[in-house]
Amino acid sequence: MDTFQETIFKLKKYWSDRGCIIQEPYDVEVGAGTMCPETFLRVLGPQPYRVAYVQPSRRPADGRYGDNPNRLYKHQQLQVILKPSPSDILDQYLGSLEAIGIDLRKHDLKFEEDNWQSPTLGAWGIGWQVMMDGLEITQFTYFQQCGGVDLDLVPAEITYGLERLVAFLQGQSSVYDIDWTRDTKYAAVRHAEELQHSVYNFEMADIGTLWQLFDLHEKECQRLIDAFKAYEPKTRFPVLPAYDQVLKCSNLFNLLDARGAISVTERVGVIGRVRKLAVGVANLWLALQQPEAAEVAQ
């Protein structure tokens, strides 16, 4: 039976063989692999792109102090983007399951409607959750819009929840019992991280500081967006650093939310602030893809 990392190796190899760039995880905190520039920005515009990467994804509110066998503050996603999506994409996806040792004739597989959307990113898509023997093992999405912009080419996004998938493959009912390597359990690698971050996120994070940080990153991002118009030459403009500021804001929003510092009413407003930045940066990125459209983006 494959270990956690062997399964990851096989998936990366599978998608590498199908023309994907194998990227390494992005180094700014994100809530999902979708938020990495490799997805969020690359899906915009007319350039074809294929990429796959593992992305540790932080969901502060899902932390359970390492007590819950299935819920994690941080889990690993294997994210695949095929832009544009090939017409045999679902067959290719099923092939990836076979590549990691699933005999599809012996398992039950269903595609259940699940349309993804991220209000903070102004993004949405149409798709399914893929259910294997009653377990959701993949989220599959055809992106339609990102940063509030209709996409030129429709990318397919395949997101494997790695802990869940490997627990399924290894027959474990707790992710902490997964064999990361032959002689190291998942718990030995990650349990302390789950516990400590849960304590911080739920009990010790300073709300005032988090709000301050949020405001600072927001201001920095907006400053950059505003500077674009006058800046020349456009090709040197730091769009990617501006996007990092969006990610910082998004993560701080999630932390504040987990801390119970955002009321239901405030929520909409704060989401709107992050969305505004995301849409702004997406438009700058597009402007750089199509220099003649740079004026329009403003």
Partner: protein, 672 residues
């Protein structure tokens, strides 16, 4: 003319189950209509679907349209011929239609005489017409949310179209849609078949059956029903029948096969509500009862594959369910660390609505309201704790169990049974079909909740318009009406509206809806009672019942017509009665007799009305008909003498007012 059967199959990626039935109907109707419009005949043999295909088989489709003769109208005769000679206009028209000018003739129409020509038109081959109409019919199917996949501005459909079968007999009807060329081959089950399969209308169903696809949705349903019975009956078990779940499963599978799984009976210590919700809503399993009707430690899952010989799928599903149950137990244990009663203050952090404040504010208002509604101490306690479960992990995970979780926790935490049950029930009824809370305390708590929401939202102008009703105010108002009526609570609707006229009207609308659509009374009967000013619903209920019973009697509708006439007379005369009838001014005969009849009935009707014998009262009123008829037959209301005239109007007004207090007869729609 020769005909051949037509097969159309739209091959797609998996369509959401709940959209499929409507899509099949629409597609069938669009194609039928197009065939008829093009005189191609055709009779639908099959219209069905699986998640991956929408298929239509139509028999007797003509291979070629019949030839026909068209009448083409040209310019007016006056412009086409001058002195019997064809003008340029006539010659142009002839040339355009490729005929000799002598072939033109004159047609007389309503607008005058025109030049015309009869042209015989050869019918087109069906494949040419179908090649245009099928893609059009496909793209015309309405789906609630569509996507594009071939690039911006590409065609939209519910999911990508991957293949299209369009064959008449054995011949492909050629067209292209979204980059897919139509053909004569389909694909079988994703995992029980591979490669392309050649199909025609006549072997389509069998070919797919051999490739792991049951095209017929009714057959898939039957296979599930039979399979479930075969799994449960021998074990003395019974699966909980759930039509909606069956519908869903029919359309997320191409080859449904039920399996029986089990779980550790130890989990039965968790509330059945939680276990069933996990199975039903989160896992799409049927829950199973034992011979005594109690929840058994089993479930039925439905696979999309023919079998599970090694028990791998069963084992997988059992493991998933165990993890879900563990989650639920974790939530239960975690939540018990703080009692509901200790969570009231936390509600300050849960927003109900921006302007209406938190759930703590709502609770405070509901506490006052439940007293106003006559709720007892248990009802008040239930209201106090009713929203606390919103702060629990269990409700955050299973939001559909709000209320029920609160009730279960209250019971576990030693609250009196009446309190626990009232909390449990206080969202009821969640639909017109759902029952009202089972206890008086539950009804009081449910009313307090709904009335507060209604008053609050109407108070800040959040009034539902059209299909927009984000706070589900219609459902809340319907719940209020249902509870008041069925629990026989004599509370005035107008007082519940708290003086808000828009809310009062909104509630009355729901009353009309309830008595008409749910209870089956005629709308005018309901209007008659409401117009008489009754807004205590058990009373309204008795009155409409009485009208319904008395209505078929010979006197009732004619009397209603007369009452309407009286109302119109008074309105036209702009008359308002100020005094009483002066007997001395009454003319002997019909007028005096009407007065006498009225006097005789008056006490009887009043007595019966006071005793709530509405049927008897209405029957008594109806007996006034001959006297009223005779009056209108013989007496001139507009008497020349002003005093007599006023006295007459007073008599009519008195009769109308006195006898309209149960129901306003003028609202009754009569044949006359």
């Amino acid at each position: 003319m020769s005909t051949l059967p037509l097969l159309i199959e739209i091959g797609t990626e998996e369509i959401p189950d709940w959209m499929i039935v409507s899509a099949v109907t629409q597609f069938r109707e669009a194609v039928e209509k197009a065939l008829a419009e093009n005189a191609l005949g055709g009779k639908v043999r099959m219209a069905d679907a699986t998640p991956r295909r929408i298929a239509l088989i139509i028999d007797d489709v003509l291979e070629r349209q019949p030839d026909r003769e068209d009448l083409v109208m040209g310019p007016p005769k006056a412009a086409a011929f001058k002195d019997g000679k064809p003008t340029g206009a006539a010659m142009g028209f002839a040339r355009k239609n490729d005929v000799d000018v002598n072939a033109l003739h004159i047609e007389s129409t309503a607008k005058g005489e025109y030049v015309a020509v009869r042209k015989s038109v050869a019918g087109k081959p069906a494949s040419e017409i179908l090649g245009a109409l099928i893609p059009e019919a496909i793209l015309k199917i309405y789906f609630p949310k569509t996507m594009y996949w071939t690039g911006k501005n590409g065609p939209r459909f519910i999911r990508p179209i991957r293949w299209i079968v369009a064959v008449q007999g054995r011949a492909v009807i050629p067209f292209e849609l979204a980059g897919v060329a139509s053909g004569s081959t389909t694909f079988g089950h994703r995992r029980m078949s591979s490669g392309e399969l050649a199909v025609t209308a006549d072997n389509y169903v069998e070919t797919l059956a051999g490739a792991g696809v049951i095209v017929n949705s009714a057959a898939r349903r039957q296979r599930m029903v039979d399979g479930i019975a075969a799994l449960t009956a021998p074990a003395g078990l019974q699966a909980k029948v759930d039509e909606a779940l069956l519908d869903t499963l029919v359309y997320i599978t191409e080859y449904p096969t039920p399996i029986l799984g089990g779980f550790d009976p130890e989990y039965l210590t968790l509330p059945a509500e939680v276990l069933i919700t996990v199975m039903r809503h989160h896992q799409k399993y049927f829950s199973v009862n034992d011979a005594q009707g109690k929840l058994a430690p089993n479930f039925i899952a439905v696979m999309n594959i023919s079998g599970d010989p090694d028990g791998i799928v069963r084992h997988g599903n059992e493991r998933v369910l165990k993890a879900r149950f563990n989650d639920a137990r974790f939530f239960w244990d975690f939540d018990q660390r703080r009692k509901l009663a200790d969570r009231v203050a936390d509600l300050a952090n849960v927003t109900f609505q921006e302007k209406l404040g938190s759930y703590l504010d709502k609770t405070t208002r509901m506490m006052a309201l439940v007293k106003e509604l006559g709720g007892n101490a248990a009802a008040a306690r239930a209201v106090e704790l009713s929203k606390c479960d919103l702060t629990t992990e269990m409700v955050k995970e299973f939001t559909e169990l709000q209320g029920q979780v609160g009730g279960l926790y209250a019971r576990a935490q030693g609250e009196p049974e009446a309190v626990a049950q009232a909390i449990y029930d206080h969202y009821k009824p969640v639909s017109m079909e759902d029952s009202i809370p089972s206890t008086p305390e539950g009804c009081a708590a449910a009313l307090a909740d709904k009335v507060d929401t209604l008053r609050g939202c109407f108070g800040i102008g959040l009034i539902p318009t059209g299909s927009k009703d984000p706070f589900a105010l219609r459902r809340a108002a319907q719940g209020v009406v249902k509870i008041l009526t069925e629990a026989q609570l004599p509370l005035a609707l107008s007082s519940l509206a708290g003086g808000n006229a828009a809310l009062n009207e909104f509630l009355l609308d729901r009353v009309r809806y309830y008595f008409k659509d749910v209870r089956g009374f005629a709308y005018d009967e309901v209007n008659a009672v409401l117009a008489a000013g009754s807004d205590n619903l058990p009373d309204v209920d008795q009155r409409v019942q009485a009208i319904k019973e008395v209505r078929p009697s010979a006197d009732f509708e004619p009397l209603a017509a007369s009452f309407k006439r009286i109302k119109n007379i008074l309105k036209q005369a702009e008359f308002t009665a100020t005094g009483t009838v002066n007997a001395a001014l009454l003319e002997q005969g019909p007028e005096a007799e009407l007065h006498a009849a009225f006097d005789r009935l008056r006490a009887d009707v009043a007595g019966k009305r006071a005793a709530k014998d509405y049927r008897g009262a209405l029957a008594a009123i109806a007996s006034l008909r001959p006297a009223v008829d005779l009056f209108f037959d013989k007496v001139l209301v507009n008497a020349p003498d002003e005093a007599v005239r006023r006295n007459r109007l007073t008599l009519l007004a008195t009769v109308l007012t006195e006898f309209s207090s149960i129901a306003d007869f003028s609202e009754i729609v009569t044949g006359s």
